[in-house]
Every structure is written in structure tokens, then in C-alpha cells.
């Protein structure tokens, strides 16, 4: 399986992703520059974290205009595997590949901690084949209006995993696919 890691100006965890794919997983790795116009035969495209285009206007708002994003949209429409991490997740929201938007977390603090995930769907490529070890929370995705317009079935399908707080025993809704 060939993994593509997208690099925008301002991306910083591209090398981390590359190291995991190349050194840990041992799969084929291809860096994809944001100005590229093809995915070079990648089977899975990863949008890593960082501050693409300096987070100008809103996080991810400018990155969606990168030439490669059009290719990624078509790739996703054909059922291709696209994985957004952190800033990459925000870019996917702004590009309309994921519903909803992200807002700042209530504490306005950077939070990096071990957390418990309850996986709701085990039939997806990521959840059935890849062990999720850590989940880093920067900001809180919200479903907002976009999800309210969706039927419960559609919403249920979008929900892959939920964060479970061991202290409060509360679930936080996490939508991603």
C-alpha cells in the first residue's frame, strides 16, 4: 500500500507521518507537494497537522484552494482513503469533504493528553486495520448546523469514535470519517 503525505507551506508534522509510514509501518511513502496535480498512485492520502498557509483567515480556509485539493476531492468521491490529522482535519472541513466546522476549545489551552476512545465503527479501513494509540485534542469539532440537517442514520455513519472522559464519564461527540 502506498501512502501519500501532503505538504502545504506551514505543514509541520509531514516528517512525523512520513517516519511512521516508512520506519514503523514499513509501507511505501510519497510526499505530495500542494502544487502537485496528481496523487502519484497513492492508495491513501494523509493531510498532516501544522499551520497550512499560516492559518490565515481561518484554519484550512486557504489550503483548500491548493491544486492538489481538487485531486483529493475527486479521489475521495471515488472512495479513496483520505486521512486528516489536526490541521489536515480542519482543511477537510473547509474543503467541504467533511461536514461541520471547528471552533476553539473552551479553555483556549493547548491540550495534549492520553485519552480514551470508544470506537463506534469497526468496519472502516482505519478502525479495522489500524490501531489507534493516541488522539491529540487541539480543538473541539462541532457538528453545528451541518449535522442537524442530517438524518440520524447519516449522522451515525459519520461518527467513527467518541472520546470518553474517565473523570466525568461523559462522552464527547467526535465526528469524522
Amino acid at each position: 500500500m502506498k501512502f501519500g503525505v501532503v505538504v502545504f507551506p506551514g505543514t509541520w508534522s509531514d516528517r512525523d507521518c512520513g517516519w511512521v509510514i516508512d520506519q514503523v509501518v514499513g509501507a511505501e511513502l510519497q510526499y505530495l507537494w500542494h502544487k502537485d496535480t496528481d496523487l502519484k498512485g497513492c492508495d491513501c492520502v494523509i493531510l498532516p497537522g501544522g499551520f497550512a498557509y499560516g492559518d490565515y483567515l481561518r484554519t484550512g480556509a486557504i489550503a483548500r484552494f491548493a491544486p492538489l485539493m481538487e485531486e483529493i476531492g475527486e479521489f475521495a468521491d471515488r472512495g479513496g482513503l483520505v486521512w486528516g490529522i489536526c490541521n489536515g482535519f480542519q482543511i477537510l472541513c473547509e474543503a467541504g469533504l467533511l461536514p461541520g466546522a471547528l471552533i476553539r476549545n473552551a479553555s483556549l489551552e493547548f491540550r495534549c493528553e492520553w485519552t480514551n476512545l470508544v470506537v463506534e465503527r469497526t468496519d472502516l479501513a482505519y478502525t479495522s486495520e489500524i490501531l489507534i494509540e493516541a488522539w491529540r485534542i487541539h480543538s473541539r469539532p462541532i457538528a453545528a448546523e451541518a449535522s442537524k440537517k442530517r438524518s440520524p442514520q447519516e449522522e451515525g455513519q459519520q461518527l467513527v469514535a467518541r472520546v470518553f472522559d474517565v473523570h466525568t464519564h461523559l462522552y464527547m461527540r467526535y465526528m469524522c470519517i
Binding site: 483567515l57 473547509e94 466546522a101 476553539r104 462541532i142
Partner: protein, 90 residues
Amino acid sequence: MKRVVAKVIVTPKPVVNDPQGLTVKQGLATLGFREVEDVRVGKYIEVSLDAENMSEARERVEAMCRQLLANHVIEDFRFEIDHEGRDTRR
């Protein structure tokens, strides 16, 4: 063609929690401004553009707000357009 300036204000929707606004409100309270009831933090964007008339300018700026300047899921926008009074026709 006339050069006009659109003054766009983007705000978080009323239903969206605004921790930036809350933090600023707390800061103001610390400074003694205890009469402050609420603070919302948004963005101010000035766009200079050429348009045949005001109606065209409004239409174009509205499209800019919808497509890029505001995220309709979490933000509202409003704008006013000022004449800069400069004729850009050569």
C-alpha cells in the same frame, strides 16, 4: 468603473460558544469594567474593489463572504460599502 471599499464584519453565530470573547470579558472585569455584560470577538475585513454600481458591488461582496470570508456553519457576516470616490476608468 468606480473603486469602492467593502467593510465586512464576521462574527461567531450567537449559538456558537466564544471563549475568546469570554476571556476578553474576564480581562475587562479585572480592569474594573464590571458593567460589561458580554463580549464577542469577530473579524473586520476591508475589501477594495471596482464595480459598475453599488448593486453589483453588493452582489459581489455577498458572494465573497459566502464563498470564503465567512464560514457559514459557525459565523455570520454583514458589510457596508463606502464610495472611495475614485473613478478607475481610463
